[in-house]
Amino acid sequence: MAQKLTDAVIWIGQYDVSGDHNMVRLPESVEPLKATTFGSGVTTHKNIAGLKTAGCEGSGVLSYGADSIEDVLRSKFAVAEVPNSFMAEGGQAGELAWFFKSLLTEYTPVGGDVGALHAFTFKAAASKSPLVRGQVMAAKTARTSSSNSGTPVQVGAVTAAQRVYAALHVFAVSGTNPTLDVTVKSDDGVGFASPTTRITFAQLAAAGAEFKSAAGAITDDFWRIDWTIGGTDPSFTFAVVLGIL
C-alpha cells in the first residue's frame, strides 16, 4: 500500500538522529561484471554479480551544541565500523530494519545559500559490514527491570553459509553504577525451554552501540533478546535489531 515517508528512524551509534533529518537514503548496489564470452548465438552481454556496495546519506536541519546533529556527525566523522540502523515506520518491535557498520565519509558542518534553511548533509559507506535486512527485536524504550526477556520471534534458521547479525544501540543511561548486559538467544520453540546464547554484547555502563554476528549453521528458528540491568536506580534506553544474511 502506498504511504508517505514521515516517520523514518535513523540511529547512528548511540544517537537517535531521526528528528534532525528531512531526507534519508539507503542505496545498495552490486557491481555488474561483464562475463560475456564467445559462443554461437551470443547476441547480448551477460553480467555476473561482483561486490556489493552499501551506504547511506541524509540531510536535515543543522544545529549546534552538546549531542546536536553537528556534534554527532563530527564525533563519527572518519570513524570506522559505527553501527547504523534504519527503519521506515517508527521503529516499533517487529518492524523491518536495515543495519550495518559504516564509515562517515562526508558531512557539512556549516554553509549554504543566503536565506536558505541552514542544513546539513552526510554520506557514509559500509565499513567491514554488509547491509543486513532484519527487524526490530527490542524497540527503543527505557528499561529498568533487573533481568528481562523480549518476545520470541520466529526469524528463521541460519544456514551454514549465513550469519545472524545484531546491533545494540544504547541511547541514554541513568542511575548509580548502572550496567547493562544484552544477549541474543535462540531456541527451536516459542516457549524457549532450552535457549542457546548466540551473541553476547559487551557490558555497557554508558551510551554506546555495538554490531556483532555469529556464524551458521543454526537450526533454531526462534530468537529473543535478553538483558540484565544492574546498579542503583538504573535505567537504560536501548534498542536491538537482528537479521540473518
Binding site: 500500500m1 502506498a2 504511504q3 508517505k4 515517508l5 514521515t6 523514518a8 533529518h21 528531512n22 531526507m23 534519508v24 537514503r25 539507503l26 542505496p27 545498495e28 548496489s29 552490486v30 555488474p32 560475456t36 551470443v42 547476441t43 547480448t44 552481454h45 551477460k46 553480467n47 555476473i48 554479480a49 556489493k52 534504519f86 527503519m87 521506515a88 515506520e89 523491518l96 536495515w98 535486512r133
Partner: protein, 139 residues
C-alpha cells in the same frame, strides 16, 4: 495510434507488481563498432553486442505482496531474476507485445526519501543468467 501508458504490466520472479509501478524504462542498445575504412566518406558502424537495462520506480511497501517483500523473497541485490514487461495488462498480442528476460538485481534502495514524500524505491536490472537476451513475444 498515440496512447497514454497507464496500464503497464510488470512481473518480477513470477510475481506481478504492476499496481506498485510508477515508471518503467527498458532501453535496449547495441554497441556501435566503428568499421570505417579508407574510401568511406561517412563513418560506418557494425553492430556489436546488445545491452539493456530495466529500471522500475515503485511505490515502496513492506507487507505481503509488496515491493520490498517480493524483492527480498527473490534474493535481493546480486540475484538473477526473471521479469516480464508489456504496455498493457491485456493479453499479449501484436498490439501488446511483451518483453521478458533474466537480469541481475544491480541496484535497489530498501528505504529512503524525503520527509512527507511518497515512499518510493527504484529497482535496476542488467542482463544476466540464461535469458540475458530480451525476448519479444506477440503471443
Amino acid at each position: 495510434m498515440a496512447e497514454k501508458l497507464n496500464d503497464a504490466f510488470f512481473s518480477l520472479g513470477g510475481t506481478e507488481l504492476s499496481s506498485k509501478v510508477k515508471t518503467i524504462r527498458l532501453p535496449e542498445s547495441v554497441e556501435a563498432l566503428d568499421d570505417t575504412t579508407m574510401g568511406d566518406g561517412t563513418k560506418s558502424n557494425l553492430a556489436g553486442l546488445k545491452d539493456w537495462s530495466l529500471e522500475v520506480d515503485f511505490v515502496q511497501g513492506y507487507g505481503a505482496g509488496e515491493v520490498d517483500t517480493v524483492i527480498a523473497a527473490a534474493g535481493g541485490i546480486g540475484t538473477i531474476v526473471a521479469f516480464v514487461v508489456r504496455k498493457s495488462s491485456d493479453a499479449v498480442g501484436s498490439a501488446n507485445p511483451s518483453w521478458s528476460g533474466t537480469g541481475l538485481i544491480q541496484e535497489y534502495q530498501p528505504v529512503g526519501g524525503d520527509v512527507g514524500g511518497l515512499h518510493m524505491t527504484r529497482l535496476k536490472l542488467v542482463p544476466a543468467g540464461a535469458s540475458n537476451a530480451l525476448t519479444r513475444a506477440t503471443a
